[in-house]
Symmetry: C2
Subunit: 360 residues, 2 copies
């Protein structure tokens, strides 16, 4: 894997990295689109531009949204397409190896939302920030409960959903990185929570390990309308939408008056061409039930991050939040781990992350 | 048409009324579905139940939403279907002829949101309210600027849209009862306002009489995406959605960050079977642009009616609001007037109402 050699002030680093070599119009990316390449970096301090650092990637978050950057045109999330023949990016935690920014020194651990999916890379310091060296939080938690998945769940449930005790909350992709927290946070607010997920095994885990009142396997209960009638005899007050498509349409037949639908993503649609995407035909229900549907981006709520982190850390210290991640080892597994998050039958529960370096 | 004869304390009233004799699955109702019938009412004070009044209908509001009550199943607006072989209802202003409620006396003018579409009818007093006899407002205004259309526009623009000066506002069905006010209210808040409507004549009227900055004929500019690119070079901040369907999908390609979409109805979809309704495939844009879409019903905001009425009356006194209605004369024209509001090529501008009685 990675190797480095100091030669005077010069480092020679062999870095494995993932390059997008062709856009993926529909379906999942394959090795035709994403290619693992070895890149030999020759780095001296002088060769690093000012306000840049050389980072060794330790942990990489495997998220669904970059799929929307692989289609070659601007998609609904409005992140620009990845340039072809360049290294793709993801949310990472890394270690500073060399610094050309006085705010960062060698050995600092930093988070970077747009880190190249590469063992080593030189990145601008504009978008990175330091992990508190006094923190006792295990690093993977920064990619999970205390990172984007936890914050996303918190924003959707607390800032947009505004749950009241006794309300009925439905979470799709409930066993995913965001869904596991969304359900637990809603439970902590006194709601009844039901989730949908892709296997019986995950249904069991949601109920036994994440406190879901109930859950169903959407690959088995394929009549979503019937399933929601069964699991929500009193209707749905909050739908935390991770998937869009047919499930959203079904939910709109079961919403209660003044229901809220925070939307953080629509994973069921990312692999579809726009023309093949499932249109929602019953938005009229939003009028009769006075539904509020609201999309949100984590980046817009960073001023609430402290409030979130306090609350979440307290819950964790009190043992009120269960946090799971599935770890893939080695950056060579990026493609496999990435496609796994779109597979309803994968065994993933919670956040999928890659331990990129053995030193992590 | 209507005739009445007093016979002692007994009145015999010949009342023309509209009965729904068959449900309309798709398309517009015809005389196969809605039948004009003559009903002879024999009414004595004793025959009126307590807390009921006998009303002579003077003015009837012709609204799109009752179409959703003619399909025979619960539709997205959640008003129950009209029972077959019964008189349909609409928003009316009428005169009390006989009263069995001490709060109402003969001659009182009342508003009734669910008045039978009948020249005379006995109605419960639960849902009616009195028009202030001191008011100098012409009665048709209670069905227009100072009634449901004006209030609907005000709620969508002010309560849900929350416009800021300089924002770009798009109103569909802009020449309709609600649209004419929505555009004017947004202009009064300092916004740039563009509307879509069904004829060149109405485009002209929107710009010349209702202060729209621009408007387009969607029957001519049928590539909605291209039209919105042209009319909204800086994107859309508020979309007042009256129509749903393809126009909503196009709008979602042109929304700015944090755009608001108040939805008061989706008239383009009312005549479609659910399976034929136009699905919205790009709701994912709501995430990337953090769009808030919110349905609303006038009935839920009655506590704001006073605030609205003050503001609207002030605007009217200052000549800042132009209010138009198209009047059909005689209840026999209900079917024609009702179908006209779904026709983009009709000459209707503003609210469509029927003057039911010559005494109005």
């Amino acid at each position: 894997m990675a190797s480095s050699k100091e030669e005077g002030t010069m480092m020679v680093l062999d870095s494995m990295e993932w390059v997008l070599s062709a856009y993926v119009e529909g379906g999942l990316p394959t090795s035709d689109h994403l290619k693992l390449q070895k890149n030999r970096l020759t780095v001296s301090v002088d060769s690093i531009p000012d306000r840049h650092v050389l980072i060794q990637l330790l942990w990489l978050s495997v998220d669904p949204y970059p799929r929307t950057r692989m289609t070659g045109h601007l998609d609904g999330l409005y992140f620009p397409p990845f340039p072809l023949n360049q290294v793709v990016t993801g949310y990472g935690v890394g270690r500073v190896i060399r610094s050309k920014d006085s705010r960062y020194k060698e050995g600092d651990i930093v988070q970077n939302p747009f880190n190249p999916v590469a063992e080593y890379s030189v990145v601008p310091t504009d978008l990175i920030w330091k992990v508190d060296p006094e923190s006792r939080v295990p690093l993977p938690d920064y990619l999970n409960a205390l990172g984007v998945p936890g914050f996303t769940a918190w924003l959707g449930i607390e800032m947009i959903g505004k749950p009241k005790p006794g309300e009925n909350v439905f979470v799709s992709a409930a066993a995913g990185g965001v869904g596991t927290f969304a359900g637990q946070l809603a439970k902590l607010k006194g709601c009844r929570v039901v989730g949908s997920t892709g296997s019986d095994e995950k249904v069991k885990i949601l109920k036994e390990e994440f406190g879901y009142d109930d859950a169903f396997n959407y690959n088995k209960e394929t009549d979503f309308d019937a399933a929601l009638t069964k699991y929500f005899p009193s209707g749905i007050d909050i739908y935390f939408d991770n998937v869009g498509g047919k499930m959203l349409e079904a939910v709109l037949n079961h919403v209660n008056s003044r229901a809220r639908i925070p939307v953080c993503g629509m994973i069921s649609q990312y692999n579809q061409r726009l023309s093949e995407r499932e249109g929602i035909r019953n938005l009229l229900n939003m009028v009769g039930k006075e539904v509020r549907m609201e999309g949100f981006l984590v980046a817009s709520y960073l001023n609430h991050f402290g409030e979130f982190a306090n609350e979440m850390e307290n819950y964790m210290k009190q043992g009120k939040i269960n946090s799971k991640h599935k770890i893939y080892y080695g950056i060579q597994n990026f493609l496999e781990s990435f496609t796994s998050i779109f597979s309803s039958s994968s065994s993933n529960v919670g956040k999928v992350i890659i331990q990129v370096s053995k030193d992590a």
